[in-house]
């Protein structure tokens, strides 16, 4: 299944792209996707996105097709989702 991952804020700065299209296995969970992304984009990306235990940081917002996704990332199935947006917090003024 093809999913667009959209990056914002500091994540976009690290990856150098606003979004990327990924081809994932059916049934991939959000947790698995985050693991793949961390492997792909390196240490700075990982430190920004997840805590030491590998869980998404509480202040990282995940958006599925324009709606905030809330729940257990390890079981959150991405089947049927077209766009996953990852938002790290910003407070620039």
């Amino acid at each position: 299944m093809k999913i667009t991952v959209q990056y914002t804020g500091q994540l976009a700065g690290i990856t150098g792209v606003g979004d990327e299209l990924l081809d994932l296995e059916e049934g991939t969970t959000l947790g698995a996707l985050v693991g793949q992304l961390c492997d792909r984009h390196g240490t700075n990306y990982t430190e920004l996105l997840v805590s030491g235990s590998g869980e998404l940081r509480p202040s990282t917002m995940v958006i599925f097709d324009g709606e905030q996704a809330v729940g257990d990332q390890s079981t959150m199935d991405l089947t049927g989702i077209k766009t996953v947006m990852l938002m790290t917090p910003i407070a620039g003024g």
Binding site: T8, G9, Q10, A12, G13, G18, E47, L48, R57, P58, S59, M61, I63, G66, E67, Q68, V70, M85, M87, T88, P89, I90, A91, G92, G93
Partner: protein
């Protein structure tokens, strides 16, 4: 409510009184309202300008420190001749010259645990534009406690996001960000036009919330990326476990 507008008000705001759904009633609501804006830099400054132009009766500006040269790529309420002077007072001076019919109060302090409750209590709506989450969380907490409208606007690089908050009805800032993000840095990349864009969207949301015009985007985040001129509204959810507005708060 129309009798609350003076002839000067009618003359000054004549063009916006023509906006369908706004009119003298909407103008009078703005006239009666006080806005607290923290701070008055690249984001808060244009918010203040928009609120002053729209005719809010009073604007309270909270911002500590003195103007520096590297503020001037974005802090449009300031003047080069004010380098080294109080930012809040410089902003007050600009706004007073722009619209002498409104009241502008300068508080040369940032939002702190000591002043947050009092400053929020004196406002009908709060516009949060501080570069530190600690200040934003204080304003959010007090707005929830005191049942005040809050518009939290932020930007980074070429992106911006605006969250209009009606306590008890919509997700609050702490629903979305339960802790101070450990990786946020005080210094951020910014072009003034981007912060002004976020500011004007935030100001418009606040004008709608106070006046009743249109539909405020509560329970939504307005997000834009000006690199691509991509705008999105994102549906938000309240967190029942939120330490500020949740069931156990």
């Amino acid at each position: 409510m129309s009798e609350l507008l003076s002839d000067l008000d009618r003359a000054t705001y004549e063009w916006q009184l023509d906006v369908p759904g706004f009119g003298e009633e909407g103008q009078a609501k703005l006239r009666q309202s006080t806005a607290l804006v923290s701070r008055c830099g690249g984001l808060g400054g244009p918010i203040c300008f928009a609120l002053a132009a729209a005719g809010f009766g009073k604007i309270i500006i909270a911002h500590a420190g003195e103007l520096r040269l590297d503020d001037l790529n974005r802090q449009i309420l300031m003047r080069h001749e004010d380098l080294g002077k109080s930012r809040a007072e410089s902003a007050q001076s600009t706004l007073a010259a722009f619209n002498p019919a409104i009241e502008v109060e300068a508080v040369a302090e940032n939002i702190t645990e000591e002043n947050a409750a009092d400053l929020v209590s004196r406002a009908d709506i709060v516009f949060s534009a501080a570069p530190l989450f600690e200040e934003r969380f204080l304003m959010n907490r007090e707005c929830v406690r005191q049942d005040k409208f809050l518009v939290d606007s932020a930007m980074y690089n070429l992106e911006g996001r605006i969250i209009p908050i009606v306590p008890g009805q919509s997700a609050c800032l702490s629903c979305l960000y339960p802790e101070v993000p450990p990786n946020w840095k005080r210094r951020f990349p910014v072009i003034g036009a981007v912060s002004a864009l976020a500011a004007n969207i935030g100001a418009m949301e606040g004008i709608k919330m106070v006046s009743g015009l249109g539909t405020a985007q509560t329970n939504r985040m307005i997000y834009f990326d000006s690199a691509l001129m991509r705008f999105q509204t994102i549906e938000l959810k309240r967190n029942p476990e939120c330490r500020v507005c949740g069931n156990s708060a």
